[in-house]
């Protein structure tokens, strides 16, 4: 592991964290070679997380776009309702190997926080979750779930009180207690080795989905689509298709849909490379290198940076990055629910909206596999309010 993805990645951290990061990398590599570790992880993925998750063929959505067939990878059906649990259970096992009982984590949408709380409760670890106050308000059910699952939730008032600020708070806490605490980072962001470890724990999504799709269709999909905030569900999904002749598409949050440096969370479309939270990657920043405010209706995508591996794939063209606005995501949220009976998270609704754009460009009869990273129960209040607002504005 060298921690570089082309010119991105690295380990831009305080000296205090260099030792703990090294220790984490060494323990991770030992764990990979330890049959007991891999057997326990496989068992937990099966019996606690509920893997494998199925793939589901859609019959209406997408059919009107050139007769394209959409398939979903159903990460919404995992225990706790999103892909985040794949990484949380893996890293919680690592923390236990490291002898660290205190777990800290950040959360945006609350899905990672809930997954950490559940994994820690199951494995007998103590969890503290940092969450921006704004996110806690728009994802209130997840705050209650975390607390019920035994986690301490620390609300963060700094900055915009969203995901980036929650990560800052968690990193500062980790710097204070690096010897006894494991920082269970929830996405493919941050300093090396997190982007690699998290991607590897999420690669189960891609491995399963590729095999399942081949089994059902005797061929690979023409395109694979996933939403990209930090980018962990996409990194896990894409990892199985990197050597295949398959179009890979990441969907970022276009927010208000006006582009520029503000009002969205799409650094891969509108940002420039820089260093934030330990890694070199595309960022939304101003001319002086200050990090810009972001906006997305989906808290899990509302982030000024992105995983360094995605920055590399953008530059090499391995993955195409497009965007979906708040409005397009809301349309997809409603459409998938009413036409297919599946209620997606607002984050995953961006992937569905992006997949419909991809479908319009596909040849008739093509197939598109979409990673449905999480379920939308947590979003009901904010999505219904946004839909009502939109209706009123249209009058």
């Amino acid at each position: 592991m060298n921690g570089r993805f082309g010119e991105y990645g690295g380990q831009f951290v305080a000296e205090t964290l260099v030792g703990p990061l090294q220790e984490l990398e060494e323990e991770y590599q030992k764990a990979l070679l330890d049959p007991e570790f891999t057997a326990e992880l496989d068992k937990l993925l099966k019996m606690f997380v509920g893997r494998p998750t199925p793939i589901t063929e859609l019959h209406r959505l997408g059919a009107t776009e050139n007769g394209v067939k959409l398939w979903l990878k159903r990460e919404d059906l995992t225990h706790t309702g999103a892909h985040k649990i794949n990484n949380s259970i893996g890293q919680a096992l690592l923390a236990r190997r490291l002898g660290k009982k205190q777990i800290i984590a950040e959360t945006g949408a609350g899905q990672h926080g809930v997954a950490v709380a559940a994994a820690c409760a199951y494995l007998g670890l103590e969890a503290t979750v940092y969450m921006g106050r704004v996110d806690a308000e728009r994802q209130a059910p997840n705050v209650q779930r975390m607390e019920l699952l035994g986690a301490r939730v620390e609300l963060v008032d700094l900055g915009t009180a969203t995901l980036k600020d929650a990560i800052n708070a968690a990193i500062r806490e980790w710097i204070a207690r690096p010897d006894t605490t494991h920082y269970l980072l929830g996405s493919v962001v941050g300093p090396h080795p997190f982007p690699t470890i998290v991607r590897n724990f999420q690669s189960v999504i891609g491995r399963e989905a590729r095999a399942q799709f081949l089994e059902e269709n005797d061929r690979l999909p023409d395109a694979v689509v996933a939403c990209v905030g930090g980018g962990s569900n996409a990194a896990g999904m894409f990892s199985a298709f990197l050597d295949d002749p398959v179009r890979l598409v990441g969907v970022q949050a276009a927010g208000e849909g006006k582009g520029g440096q503000c009002g969205h969370a799409a650094p891969l479309l509108y940002g420039d490379p820089g260093v934030l939270q330990g890694t070199r990657t595309y960022l939304l920043q101003d001319d002086d290198g200050q990090i810009q405010l972001t906006h997305s209706i989906a808290p899990g995508l509302d982030y000024a940076g992105v995983g360094p591996e995605h920055s590399h794939y953008k530059d090499t063209g391995k993955v195409e990055y497009i965007s979906a606005s708040d409005n397009e995501a809301l349309d997809a949220f409603v459409a998938l629910s009413s036409q297919e009976g599946i209620l997606p998270a607002l984050e995953s609704a961006h992937a569905v909206a992006g997949a419909l754009k991809v479908a319009r460009q596909c040849a008739p009869g093509s197939t598109v596999l979409v990673n449905l990273s999480g379920r939308g129960d947590k979003d009901l209040t904010s999505a219904m309010a946004a839909l009502k607002q939109r209706e009123e504005n249209a009058r």
């Binding site: 831009f12 205090t16 030792g19 900055g159 710097i175 207690r177 010897d179 820089g274």
Partner: protein
């Protein structure tokens, strides 16, 4: 960098601890920064560490975070901070001035241009808290080409190999983090600090300055002979923040620095 080396050498000869004073550029107003630097130097600060504000200062606690945000709110940038240094030099400040800042604003400025402009403005070196030695090669090359200092860090948990690497790479002085955590006033120094300072001392002859939690004269006095220098930041900014007006802020700097300076001998 020569000015930094000379300062530490002179103080070693006199058996005095070098006093490094941290001030956030543009706090509370850009127009006051030169005056606060002058006040600190006149009261006995040997080196000025001038902070370039960043929106996401991961190594800083609430006090320095708040000063940085206030400075950003009034438009303080890396370029404006270089102007502050040039003005301080024009006003006759001769003490070494090092710029403290996080990677991103410096990278955005462009490292080639930054080190070139810094040398022209009268800057003596750089302190970059999110730049460990393993990521520092390019920065060091620019520092060498411009004869500027480049400070790396040690932490209480750093291995002997990492302490040696940071000491060997540092130009000017080595920043010894007195504690885990972020910047901020702490009541007491860590009981394990002496043994840790001995480990750092054993790693080489690069001048070392201890920071994080140094706020009182008794802290400074207790470190005499165990380190070449001490760094005071949050306590100074708290004193500045508590004063009512510009004159009061200069007096606050004079008062705290004088009392700390007396403890360096």
């Amino acid at each position: 960098m020569k000015r930094i080396e000379q300062t530490f050498t002179d103080n070693r000869t006199k058996d005095e601890t070098t006093l490094v004073a941290y001030i956030t550029s543009g706090y509370p107003l850009l127009g006051e920064t030169v005056g606060l630097i002058s006040a600190a130097v006149e009261a006995g600060a040997d080196v000025i560490e001038l902070g370039v504000p960043f929106s996401d200062p991961l190594g800083d606690g609430p006090v320095i975070q708040a000063t940085g945000q206030a400075a950003l709110d009034t438009g303080t940038t890396a370029a404006a901070t270089l102007d502050v240094v040039a003005e301080a030099r024009a006003a006759g400040v001769e003490a070494p001035i090092v710029l403290m800042g996080y990677c991103n604003p410096f990278l955005r400025y462009g490292l080639t241009q930054l080190y070139d402009d810094a040398r022209s403005a009268g800057v003596d070196g750089f302190v970059v808290p999110d730049l460990p030695v393993s990521e520092g090669a390019e920065w060091l090359a620019h520092a060498e080409a411009n004869e500027l200092g480049q400070t790396f860090f040690t932490a209480p948990g750093s291995s002997a190999e990492r302490i040696a690497a940071s000491a060997a790479a540092s130009r000017g002085f080595l920043y010894v983090l007195a504690a885990n955590g972020v910047t901020g006033v702490r009541k007491d120094l860590d009981p394990g600090l002496d043994a840790y300072l001995e480990r750092v001392r054993a790693a080489g002859d690069t001048p070392m300055a201890v920071g994080f939690g140094i706020s009182r004269p008794e802290h400074v006095a207790s470190l005499h002979g165990k380190t070449d220098g001490v760094i005071v930041g949050s306590a100074l900014l708290q004193a500045i923040g508590a004063a009512r007006d510009a004159a009061g802020r200069r007096q606050a700097v004079t008062g705290l620095i004088s009392s700390l300076k007396a403890a360096t001998r």
